[in-house]
Symmetry: C2
Subunit: 320 residues, 2 copies
């Protein structure tokens, strides 16, 4: 089943989200409008808005209320991508030049700030103090994670716990905030809120591990950027950590640096792929996926629960 | 009278603000803690918190409620300074190395993000939806202003209206938001809220014009950075625009560029100072100051109103 088929009952609502996203970032300053729309049009799975809406469906769902939260979550995510591309010096995202590549780092910094400010503006129309608190706390953690990620770069002595802490802040917290904020916006019962919150967290962990695996096994076409980019940028992911348990591989991987030859990097990637590191990483991702499914096992039955289950499974098995 | 004497009845409350600022930015990540505290310790007038508190004093004042708004406003201001220093490539602020100088642009970008996120976190504890809306709208405008400032750099064809629009977004809106948010936090009557809002706006305009004048007439010691820095960075301020009404000066000023010789720059600064541009700019600042005083003329009498008047006058006459 294709991803979009899993929540086709949300199609008209997702069109509203897409339209609101575009209206929200539309600025009367041409650089900001162009750069923001450039990013928006590059697409993305809109996982966060979808989770907001699906969690909201468990309660008193009103698209004109919940769309504010859905748009805010996607914009926060987009803003963080723009700043990440500055830090990672990335020129390509989703097969498109990044803002920092198409304009420059300074424009990217302020575009990120602007998109983030716009997310606050639309969020401020949602009169749910609890949701604001969740988002603010999450954003603080995401920022701490971003600075941690800089510190951890090319630090080959790090361990699996460092990695999990990092992807929690990088990915899992914002996805789990999406399902929680969606639930709060729709006045979902508190016991169910907690389940949705956990569900988002586990899906986020599983999702990021897959992402990190794909950076090794995906093709340039599938990834929209050259494979092995994470490692080249000094981002030590789960497959790398597992592969480095072999002392020979550890020595070889530790030589990775920004200016490394593409061919040499490809050799190291092949070395990592020749171990059981990818398989073991997949198993961990699957374990998180299972925890996610367990978390919502006793949510009320319905198309929304079914969709959450299917999407989680899809994300846990995806190829790009 | 010294600035601090004008609101000495707030001394113990301002100590609470200072302590809360420090607690708020304290992170368990060392780079973020060090960089944020470095900025905090460099000082500043804390104009925004003072305006929050003084406006709050007109209503139901509770320091433990209003401190959240006061700290949030100062942090938003600090975050914007950190990002501005990246854009302006500034190495000194308040006589101290900037974060981008002491660490680098990437650390500065995330430190700004982090301080900003922390401001949202403390703000989210204030249960006043109207205040959140004001802040979010203000931040969007500030971001638009920042991008506009990049576009306007070294653009010698700009006019006085461009300048006013820029300083409104750069300074006036956040100061006016400070007094409005302080008023909202203390449930000040709506008719007085409007006056305080206007007051903050006019004081902010007056304040920024003085700041731009000081960049020409201040000494390096007073400014904490070399004089003429704005012009060198391509930031065309009111004195420059007035001086450029003379065709000869316009031609000379238009040659300014980032790599210009210090001596050549100093000549141009002297040229600008030899005209009536500084005087005329002072007059405009004074006119805004008068508008500020008029705006709060019929606020209820009391030490808070007196303090607002004195501070406005002080800021309008300050020498550094």
């Amino acid at each position: 089943m294709k991803l979009k088929m899993m929540y086709s009952f949300l199609n008209s609502d997702l069109e509203i989200i897409e339209k609101t996203l575009e209206e929200t970032v539309n600025a009367n300053t041409s650089i900001l409008r162009d750069s923001s729309l450039h990013l928006l049009k590059a697409g993305g799975k809109r996982i966060r808005p979808i989770f907001v809406l699906l969690a909201g469906q468990i309660g008193q769902y009103d698209i004109h209320v919940i769309k504010k939260a859905a748009v805010a979550l996607e914009l926060i995510h987009m803003a963080s991508l723009v700043h990440d591309d500055v830090i990672d010096d990335s020129d390509l995202r989703r097969g498109q030049p990044t803002i920092k590549a198409k304009w420059d780092n300074k424009v990217a910094m302020y575009t990120g700030d602007y998109i983030f400010a716009k997310s606050l503006e639309i969020m401020s129309e949602l009169k749910k103090p609890a949701a604001h608190k969740v988002l603010a706390d999450t954003i603080v953690e995401v920022c701490i994670g971003e600075i941690q990620q800089i510190k951890d770069k090319y630090y080959f002595e790090q361990n699996v716990r460092d990695y999990f802490r990092r992807i929690k802040r990088k990915t899992a917290l914002l996805i789990s905030a999406s399902s929680l904020v969606g639930a709060i916006a729709s006045d979902v019962e508190e016991k169910h809120q907690k389940k949705l919150h956990k569900f988002g967290y586990y899906v986020g962990m599983s999702y990021q591990i897959i992402d990190d695996i794909l950076d090794f096994v995906g093709t340039e076409e599938e990834l929209g950027k050259p494979a092995g980019g994470d490692l080249l940028q000094g981002n030590i992911t789960l497959p790398v950590l597992y592969a480095m348990e072999d002392e020979g591989i550890r020595k070889r991987v530790s030589t990775v640096h920004e200016e490394m030859d593409r061919e040499e990097l490809l050799e190291i990637i092949e070395l990592i792929k020749s171990t059981d590191a990818i398989d073991r990483s997949m198993k961990i991702s699957n374990a998180y996926l299972q925890k996610a499914l367990d978390a919502i096992a006793d949510l009320p039955k319905g198309r929304s629960k079914t969709a959450l289950i299917n999407i989680a499974k899809y994300l846990g098995k995806r190829k790009f």
